[in-house]
Symmetry: C2
Subunit: 174 residues, 2 copies
């Protein structure tokens, strides 16, 4: 049966360097002071994200997590088609990664109305949905009580792919 998984936050802070430098794992053990080799809700989220091989459609209210930003940039560098819809006020929060993504050539659109674009979901390769309460911020990951749900149930994924396309089209700045 299709993937169905729930991850809760906050999570302990552990090293996630192996996601970004997989080839050097054996050559030179990571010197950072964080715990290594542990599975957390953040490593679970990163693993789902980095499973993308074709596309990532991300609809996120607040995005300031450097780990998650690195993952999105890595996907972009691998040729994955990345599209981001975000909130026009929260894209300017302290440490926002939206500028970094744009500087890397990623297409970002923001809600153009006067309302909050409060979604926090991602669709990977058009078939894996990540959705929940979690904004992509360090406070959300490491401090708050949060959840994400990950599924490939078509009845749950398809409405979100349609919603993403609606938001993408309706916030075209051109």
């Amino acid at each position: 049966s299709p993937l169905k998984e729930v991850l809760f936050f906050p999570t302990a802070l552990t090293c996630v360097e192996h996601f970004f430098k997989p080839d050097t794992t054996f050559a030179s053990p990571c010197p950072c002071p964080l715990p290594h080799g542990l599975e957390t809700s953040l490593t679970g989220l990163l693993r789902h994200l980095l499973s993308a091989s074709v596309s990532l459609d991300l609809c996120i209210f607040a995005f300031s997590s450097q780990d998650l930003s690195r993952a999105v940039l890595l996907l972009q560098s691998r040729g994955v088609a990345v599209r981001v819809v975000t909130d026009k006020d929260y894209m300017r929060i302290s440490g926002s990664q939206i500028g970094t993504l744009r500087n890397a050539g990623i297409c970002v659109r923001h809600e153009m109305g006067s309302v909050y674009m409060h979604h926090k979901f991602a669709v990977i390769d058009g078939r894996r949905l990540i959705t929940g309460s979690l904004n992509w911020t360090l406070a959300a990951i490491q401090s708050n009580k949060e959840n994400i749900l990950v599924t490939e149930e078509p009845d749950l994924v398809l409405p979100f792919t349609r919603e993403f396309q609606l938001l993408w089209d309706s916030n075209d700045p051109a």
Copy 2:
């Protein structure tokens, strides 16, 4: 296969009086100026909520919607066991319904740590999950871009029932 449904917000404002006074629908048509007889994401949410016959476990960051408060109070009056976990800062927002629920005898606990209790989920009768980005506020319902996902998939519901119990137990003021 188990219930799987996604509802998006914002939604148009329509009359929801029939949920609260079902018996008088035919005797005296509602005189309010809102559109009547329409299905919206809010009526969908109210219908799921009011399907509760045994228990409602609600874990909600911000709760100021009068319509949703009336629904919770109606469940309480029907003998449904209602438990609420909320955020200690946001329980004091303008128009918060938490005081109203407590005054009606509903058990409310709030996050006792210094972090945000940012979940927005409900479990109905231990088997139907409502979760998503939607806080139970008028702005979320009528203005923001929001989602809720409703499912009876056990693999998705059970983690949330466990999370609720963990939060309930860990925030016992006694």
